[in-house]
C-alpha cells in the first residue's frame, strides 16, 4: 500500500510539472508551429489529469476535442495564416513591441495573481461536499443513473439548452465572416481514403455507444457529439464533399435539431407539468435520450461545420 501511494504521488507530481512545463513552452516558443504541437501535447496531458481526478466524463470530452478537433482547427488555421502573411513577419513583430522592463512588470503581476489565487485555494476547507449530496438525493427521479448526465440534461437543463445556442451562434459568426470554404488541391490518395472508410463508421458507432452508455456510465451527448464532429473533420480532410443538395435545408435542420428539440420539449413539458423542462420521473429516461440524440447530431454537425469554415452554399444560392 505504501509503495502504491508513493507511486500515485509521483505520477501526479510528474503530470503537474509536465503540464506547467509544456504550457510554458507552448506559450513562449519562438516557432508558431512548434507552439501548436506543444499545445496538442498539452491537451493529451490534460486528459490524463482528468483521469487522475476521477472525472472520466471530462476525460472523454477532452480526448475527443483535444486529440481530434482543436489540433485540426489550429493546424488548418496556421496553414491558411502562413499563406496570407509572410511567415518570417511574426517573429520580429512580436519581440519589437514589448520592452524588457515592461516584461518584468507583467511577470510580477502574473506572479501576484498566482500568489493570491494560491492563498485562496490553500485556505479553502479540505472537505466540501458541494452539491453532490443534492445530486445523489435526486438521482432517483432524474431518469438516468449517471450523476453527470442527470445534471446536464435534467437538473441544469437550461444551461445545456443555452450552451447549444452558444455553439450555433459561434457557427453563425464564422459563417457571417468567411467566404466559401476552400479545399486543398491534392488528391487524398488510397491510404487516406481507406482510413476514412474504416475510421468514420467506427467513429459514428462509438458516438452512438457513448450516447447510449451516458445514461448509466461516463459518456453522453457532448462527448458523442464531439466524436461525431471528429468523424466529420476526418471526412472533410479526405476531401469528401457532400452533395450540394444536402448543404441547404438538410444541413440547417441538423444544426438546429438540438436547440429546437430542447425548446419544443420545454414548451410541451410546460403545458403538461406546469414548469419548463421539468421531466416527469416515469418518462424522464426516454425523454432525456431523445433530447440527447438531437443534441448529439447538432453538436457533431456544428463542430464539423466550424472546421469547414465558410458558409456552405447549395445550388439554389449560386443562381
Amino acid at each position: 500500500m505504501e509503495a502504491l501511494t508513493l507511486l500515485g504521488w509521483m505520477f501526479d507530481g510528474l503530470l503537474g510539472l509536465g503540464l506547467l512545463w509544456v504550457a510554458w513552452r507552448a506559450l513562449t516558443s519562438p516557432d508558431l508551429f512548434r507552439a501548436i504541437v506543444l499545445f496538442i501535447a498539452f491537451g493529451l496531458l490534460m486528459a490524463l489529469a482528468w483521469v487522475r481526478l476521477e472525472a472520466p466524463d471530462v476525460a472523454l470530452a477532452e480526448a475527443a476535442i483535444g486529440a481530434g478537433l482543436t489540433g485540426a482547427l489550429l493546424l488548418a488555421a496556421f496553414a491558411k495564416l502562413s499563406s496570407i502573411t509572410a511567415s518570417g513577419d511574426e517573429k520580429q513583430a512580436d519581440s519589437a513591441r514589448i520592452y524588457s522592463h515592461q516584461l518584468y512588470w507583467i511577470a510580477a503581476v502574473a506572479l501576484l495573481v498566482a500568489a493570491g489565487l494560491g492563498y485562496v485555494i490553500l485556505s479553502l476547507p479540505p472537505y466540501a461536499a458541494g452539491l453532490s449530496v443534492e445530486v445523489a438525493a435526486n438521482l432517483q427521479t432524474s431518469g438516468v443513473s449517471h450523476p453527470v448526465t442527470a445534471v446536464l440534461l435534467n437538473f441544469r437543463g437550461y444551461d445545456t439548452l443555452l450552451e447549444m445556442v452558444v455553439l450555433l451562434v459561434a457557427l453563425l459568426g464564422v459563417w457571417s465572416l468567411g467566404g466559401p470554404a476552400i479545399g486543398r488541391g491534392s488528391a487524398p490518395g488510397p491510404v487516406l481514403d481507406m482510413m476514412a472508410r474504416v475510421l468514420v463508421p467506427l467513429l459514428i458507432m462509438v458516438a452512438a455507444y457513448l450516447l447510449w452508455v451516458g445514461a448509466h456510465a461516463p459518456g453522453g451527448a457532448f462527448q458523442a457529439g464531439a466524436v461525431l464532429g471528429a468523424a466529420g473533420v476526418l471526412l472533410l480532410l479526405a476531401d469528401w464533399r457532400p452533395r450540394a443538395g444536402l448543404m441547404g435545408w438538410p444541413l440547417r435542420l441538423m444544426l438546429v435539431a438540438g436547440p429546437a428539440a430542447f425548446v419544443v420539449m420545454a414548451a410541451l413539458l410546460y403545458m403538461v407539468e406546469g414548469r419548463l423542462l421539468a421531466f416527469p420521473p416515469a418518462q424522464a429516461g426516454m425523454l432525456i435520450l431523445m433530447l440527447e440524440t438531437a443534441a448529439t447530431v447538432s453538436i457533431g454537425v456544428t463542430l464539423a461545420a466550424l472546421f469547414l469554415g465558410g458558409r456552405p452554399q447549395s445550388d439554389k444560392e449560386h443562381t
Binding site: 507511486l7 493529451l44 483521469v51 486529440a67 485540426a72 493546424l75 502562413s82 452508455v213
Partner: protein, 90 residues
Amino acid sequence: MQTLYLALAVFLLLNLGAGMWRVLRGPSAADRMLAAQLFGTTAVAVLVLLGQAMESTALLDVALLFALLAAVTAVAFVRRAWPETNNDVD
C-alpha cells in the same frame, strides 16, 4: 500487480517527457508531429494501465477515443499544415 501498473504508468510518463525533446528540437515539422504521434500512443498505454490500476472500465473508453482520434490531428497536419516546399533546415 497494482504497484506494477502504476510504476509502468510513471515510467511511460517519464518516456513522454523525454520525447518532448524531439518536439522542441525538430528540425522539420514532420519530426515534431511524429513525436506528438508517439505521445498519443503512450497516452493510450498509460490509460489502459491506469484503467486496470484504478479498476475503472470507463478509462478504456477514453483510451479507445484516443486510439480513434490520434489519426485525425496527424491527417490534418499532412493534408493542411505541411508546407509543400521543404523549408526545413536538416
